[in-house]
């Protein structure tokens, strides 16, 4: 057995066992980490739910191609390797938008892989998913082989000291395939098995691939740390251990005559500016669209906000792990030299060369980490894609009816094993061919082909399924033709003439100069053709074709993922026969297991008691449930398979999706087709408008009810509809109806109770929709409904204010599920309007009744009042007449009486004087009595005459400016004898030269006499009486004109006085305060009354101030003549 043959097979030298032991221990350590993370997750304390771990898992980007290959690349193309890592840094700028959106979409749609993502975006198209899966497997498999190769060859390097550099066996690093010995002797085979075990254990623990693999993520993150530490250790050793730091190495290279070229790019086709640009583009796409990157960044993402930190942590990681690539590479060149195939191992060989055993083992572990991480994640990802996008659809097409839940998880594990073993097979077949070494960039070139479909799918709703298929097909075919075919040629599997003369001698089909495009490097040439054709086909075909409904819906779900849900789900379909929930659960259990199926339903209904919920669900809820079921299955088998599963299942049960009955006409699902939507909206609004117009125009509840029922029948072709209202006796009765049989109307009369639907609606205030009247659970209603032949119905409560007053019902005899959710919404609104109308009408009715009652009362009162008023008027007239008659009578009578009285007095005096003959003393006394009484009587008559004259308006006075002094003097002259007679002391106080007053001298004299007479009369003998006359200068008492000046005349005595309570009636007619006083003092009782009227006729007033027993003061005011001088006024 040659050395070359030996090196790959299992060997049992101690070094081999040691390294194998370390490797296995390390893998066991990873198992432990993964197991611990899974355990932590079960306990609800996730280990990986933080941005740092997330960023570290993304570092799965750095495979062994980075760990070993970068160094080798430097020795070939200088700094060009850096583009592979700067590209992701640039992409990180866009993560805030693109990655966030991809994560949100994937979470909402239970996306399981990149193939699933594309398939789901373009209408859950299983063909697309299969296409991407196949291309991904073709593109990634060799990449896995590359990792296996790196593990295997570095393992050998460590275990076979004879292979070490410096032993002249450098060329022994294998460069050809090995088929000479059985696979079970190869190290790589066992490595593959261990990795497959790892993948199966931690990448396929659950069926639901959209669930996180926390164990795997934790292991990957650990590996990322290990590989960084390992690379850093080697880097530090080389840079500062072997050389004097960065500057030293770089300056040495700068002064090296051959290697100095490596400090620049654009020195060969391999590192031209063009290829530099190409690699940047490729790596920018790879960090997001490589299946393993998509998996770690999107599927395994725990929280969207982790992006915020990961977007700089990952570039920082890439920066750090590449920091020592250049020193190691240049150090290796300076120390070891040799071609890049040797340079690939500098990380290992440099420590080995300097007998740094443990460092080399650490480096090996770092490389092992890089390789296994990539292999595990890729295999899990590809296996998921394989299962969900190829095997499941195939099984479904073949109508495999077995219970798949058991098989699915094992199929998935099998898939992981299969992928890794395929990688191993590749490794065996192609060995160290050209292709394997370049597989990194070839994989990148394949991954970027998904970019147009994904980015277009994220932001362009018009991107269609056919566009995506066309783009991907073009892209992958060009990729295959311009990249894989030349690789096969370089690997020697195809004749070299293809690349020189073109296939079959057709120069324009030369894969590296396609259509005569020369001057491009290999990668740029391929990228140009594949990506440009991909983009053009995607755009053009999308624009030419149109989308079906599911495509449109998915496009909206994806593009508008950040918009509120309500905009995105417009229902237009519904299920005609929806399966029972128990059946649904059974179906789900086939794919996701019993427990998960149960929890899905429990979560959907938010209750574990959901079995009887179906009848109450409306169309939209059923659609949502169906979507939920599909999603939960999608988590296990991918979206396209889930769609097929659900569709075929529903079909098998006779439950088909159908268009919602044309109750509103065709409603377009897409918001873009908003014209139809708009028309629909207009129609709805017009119905509502009409309803509200009816409500507003009529105040008759019956009228409104009938109008709205007519509207329902007319516009929506409702078979039966009715309005039930609660009567005062607590019975719910049909008040208006259309299309119902009389017995229905009669039988439906009952008190509201939960035993019938109208009662339930009334009591709960909720809209009740039963889409299948056969499946109802209220016996009372069942009889009614079936009697009437009702297939589906809806009932909405009628609210007035906040009180439920009745129920609006509509039913269909035509079909089940007649009422769409939109209609129910409208129906609800109609019920509300009806409630408002009835409420208003009732209020109005009440108001009208009140009004009427009030009117009657008012009328009654008015009549009564009018009658009273007439009576009063009459009485008033009568009274006035009586008063006048009285006055007239008195005036006449007084006059008639006065004449004889004068005669009596005159003749009596003659008799007393003895003119007719002498009389004796006795006779004289009697005659004197007659004369005194007659005089009194005459005085009385005079007074009455005066008063009645005044009252009858026959008293005339002539007002003119006169001298009050003159009047006063004349009056006093006549009264002095009286004072003397009673020996009363009289004093007069007056201003000198009093101004003239407006007055009638005759009447003024009468006033003065009346007042002074009273004073004399009610003052005892030797009493004091005074009269004061002055221009009044104080505040005028009320009743006088404040603009004028007045003369105040006060007559004061110290006589008997007047009691306070009598003051008010003092000026009344025939008033003598004490009944005895008239006898004692004489007088008619009319004096003050006349005085008052006389004063008033002078536009003055009279006041009295008195204290009982002390005396009285009567003051009257007369206007001065100053302003009215010369003016005569006649008052009547």
């Amino acid at each position: 057995m040659s050395l070359r043959e030996r090196e790959r097979i299992i060997d049992f030298n101690p070094r081999y066992l040691l390294i194998a032991g370390i490797s296995v221990s390390y893998l066991l350590f990873l198992f432990a980490v993964a197991y611990y993370a899974d355990l932590r997750k079960l306990r609800g304390k996730s280990l990986v739910d933080n941005p740092y771990i997330y960023a570290l898992t993304l570092a799965v980007y750095c495979s062994s191609w980075t760990f070993y290959g970068s160094v080798g690349e430097v020795t070939n193309t200088g700094f060009k390797f850096i583009t592979i890592y700067i590209g992701p840094t640039l992409t990180a700028f866009a993560w805030g938008f693109i990655l966030r959106k991809m994560i949100r979409i994937s979470k909402e749609n239970h996306i399981t892989s990149i193939a699933d993502f594309i398939s789901s975006r373009y209408g859950k198209c299983s063909y697309l998913g299969a296409l991407v899966t196949i291309f991904a497997i073709i593109g990634i498999m060799p990449y896995i082989a590359l990792q296996l190769k790196s593990i295997s060859s570095t393992f050998e390097l460590l275990t076979h000291p004879e292979l070490r550099p410096g032993l002249q066996t450098l060329a022994a690093i294998p460069d050809a395939s090995y088929q000479g010995h059985p696979f079970y002797l190869e190290t790589a085979f066992y490595i593959s098995l261990v990795l497959a075990l790892f993948g199966a254990l931690f990448g396929a623990r659950h069926l639901d691939a959209s669930e996180k693999h926390e164990g795997m993520a934790a292991a990957i993150a650990t590996e990322s740390i290990i590989k960084l530490i390992a690379f850093f250790a080697v880097g530090l050793f080389v840079t500062y251990g072997l050389f004097g730091g960065f500057k030293d190495i770089l300056s040495r290279i700068a002064h090296h005559e051959i290697y100095r070229e490596l400090l620049l790019i654009n020195t060969s086709a391999a590192n031209s500016y063009q290829s530099w640009f190409t690699t940047i583009i490729l790596s920018m796409a790879a960090i997001m669209f490589l299946p393993r990157q998509f998996h770690m960044a999107v599927i395994e993402n725990q929280r969207e906000e982790h992006i915020n930190k990961a977007m700089y942590l990952l570039p920082l990681y890439l920066f750090l792990i590449n920091l020592f690539v250049i020193p190691i590479a240049f150090g290796g060149l300076l120390e070891i030299g040799g071609p890049s195939s040797i340079a690939d191992n500098y990380v290992l060989t440099l420590p080995l060369l300097h007998s740094q055993q443990s460092l080399s083992v650490l480096a090996f572990i770092g490389g092992l980490s890089a390789a296994t991480g990539m292999v595990v994640v890729s295999s899990v990802t590809l296996s998921t894609m394989l299962l969900n996008n190829l095997i499941m659809p195939l099984l479904l097409i073949l109508k495999v009816k077995a219970d798949l839940s058991f098989w699915l998880i094992h199929l998935k594990r099998l898939g992981i094993l299969l992928i890794i073993l395929l990688g191993y097979l590749f490794f065996r077949i192609i060995g160290d061919s050209y292709m394997l070494v370049n597989m990194g960039l070839i994989s990148f070139s394949a991954a970027i082909q998904t970019a147009p479909a994904i980015i277009g799918g994220l932001y362009w709703k018009k991107g269609t399924r056919h566009g995506a298929i066309a783009g991907l097909t073009f892209g992958f075919n060009f990729w295959f033709y311009t990249m894989m075919i030349p690789s096969f040629v370089y690997s020697g599997w195809l004749p070299g003439s293809i690349l020189t003369k073109g296939p079959l001698g057709l120069w324009w089909l030369n894969p590296i100069e396609l259509f005569g495009l020369t001057g491009f490097d290999f990668y740029s040439h391929s990228l140009f053709w594949s990506l440009s054709s991909n983009i053009m086909a995607y755009l053009a075909v999308s624009l030419i074709g149109s989308q079906d409904e599911i495509g449109r819906r998915q496009a909206e779900r994806f593009v508008d993922v950040f918009k509120p849900t309500i905009d995105r789900f417009v229902q237009e379909k519904r299920y005609a026969n929806f399966p029972a929930l128990s059946e649904l659960e059974k179906m789900m259990a086939r794919f996701i297991g019993k427990r998960k199926a149960h929890t899905t339903l429990v979560n959907f209904f938010a209750t574990s008691d959901y079995t009887d919920k179906l009848a109450q669900m409306n169309d939209q809820q059923r659609m949502q449930l169906a979507a939920e079921v599909e999603k939960s299955i999608a988590g296990a088998v991918g979206s396209s398979a889930a769609r097929i599963i659900c569709d075929t299942y529903m079909k098998a049960l006779g439950s088909e999706m159908e268009n919602v009955f044309d109750i509103f006409g065709k409603i377009s699902l897409s918001l873009e087709a908003s014209q139809e939507e708009l028309q629909q909206r207009i129609k709805e609004l017009s119905v509502l408008y009409e309803a509200s117009r009816m409500v507003a125009s009529s105040l008759d509840p019956k009228q409104v009810m009938n109008d709205i029922l007519d509207l329902l029948v007319d516009k929506f072709r409702i078979d039966n509809c009715s309005v039930r209202l609660l009567d005062r006796d607590g019975m719910l009765r049909i008040k208006a109806q259309r299309g119902l049989r009389p017995e229905f109307v009669k039988n439906s009369e009952r008190q509201p109770s939960m035993e019938c639907y109208s009662g339930e609606c009334f009591l709960t205030g909720k809209v009740i929709h039963v889409s299948d009247a056969e499946k109802i659970d209220k016996p009372v209603s069942t009889n009614l409904m079936t009697g009437q032949g009702i297939k589906s119905f809806v009932q909405a409560p009628i609210f007035s204010e906040k009180e439920i007053i009745g129920v609006l019902s509509a039913s269909s005899m035509k079909e089940k599920g007649y009422f769409s959710d939109k209609f129910i919404e409208l129906f609800k609104t109609l019920a509300q309007q009806l409630g408002v109308a009835i409420g208003t009408a009732r209020l109005y009715d009440q108001l009208a009744r009140f009004n009427k009652q009030l009117e009657i009362k008012v009328a009654e009162r008015t009549i009564a009042l009018e009658l009273k008023s007439i009576e009063l008027g009459q009485a008033n007239t009568e009274l006035k007449e009586l008063d006048r008659l009285k006055s007239e009578f008195l005036a006449n009578m007084s006059h008639e009486l006065r004449t004889p009285m004068n005669s009596i007095i005159g003749y009596t005096q003659l008799l007393i004087d003895g003119i007719d003959g002498p009389i004796n003393e006795e006779q004289k006394k009697s005659l004197e009595t007659v004369e005194r009484n007659a005089t009194n009587l005459l005085a009385l008559i005079n007074d009455i005459l005066d008063l009645s004259k005044i009252e009858a308006g026959k008293m005339t006075i002539s007002l003119a400016p006169i001298s009050f002094e003159t009047v006063l003097d004349e009056t006093l002259t006549t009264l002095f004898p009286l004072f003397e007679h009673k020996q009363q002391h009289f004093s007069l106080k007056k201003e000198e030269s009093l101004p003239e007053v407006i007055g009638d001298p005759e009447k003024l004299r009468q006033i003065l006499i009346n007042l002074l007479n009273n004073a004399i009369k009610f003052t005892d003998t030797a009493g004091e009486i005074s009269l004061t006359a002055e221009v009044f200068r104080g505040a005028l008492p009320p009743g006088l004109d404040p603009e004028k000046h007045y003369l105040a005349v006060a007559v004061k005595d110290n006589g008997i006085g007047i009691k306070t309570e009598d003051l008010e009636r003092l000026f009344g007619e025939f008033i003598q305060l004490d009944a005895s006083s008239s006898r004692k003092y004489g007088g008619t009782g009319l004096g003050l009354s006349i005085t008052k009227r006389l004063v008033e006729m002078h536009h003055g007033i009279i006041q009295v101030d008195s204290r009982y027993g002390e005396g009285s003061t009567f003051t009257f005011f007369l206007p001065l003549a100053e302003e009215e001088e010369g003016e005569m006024k006649k008052v009547s």
């Binding site: 583009t83 700067i86 840094t89 700028f93 640009f277 570039p315």
Partner: protein
């Protein structure tokens, strides 16, 4: 200062930085540095790449900080 930070809150900046980064790392800008001369004893192109790379990471740090502290 406040105004400057406020301006940076605009998302469009990050598209601009993205495009700027893309230009800075490609021909013809790199052609300026892809020449045989040294700065501070380091090859000019090496220094440009490493500093530029690190600088762009700093920019992302600022962006991430701003977007998680958006008022």
């Amino acid at each position: 200062m406040k105004k400057a930070i406020h301006i940076l809150y605009k998302k469009e900046w990050w598209v601009i930085f993205f495009i700027l980064g893309f230009f800075l790392i490609n021909y013809p800008i790199i052609h300026i540095f892809n020449k045989d001369f040294m700065i501070f004893g380091y090859p000019a192109f090496y220094l440009y790449l490493m500093l530029g790379w690190f600088g762009s990471i700093i920019v992302i740090v600022i962006y991430a900080w701003l977007s998680s502290h958006r008022p």
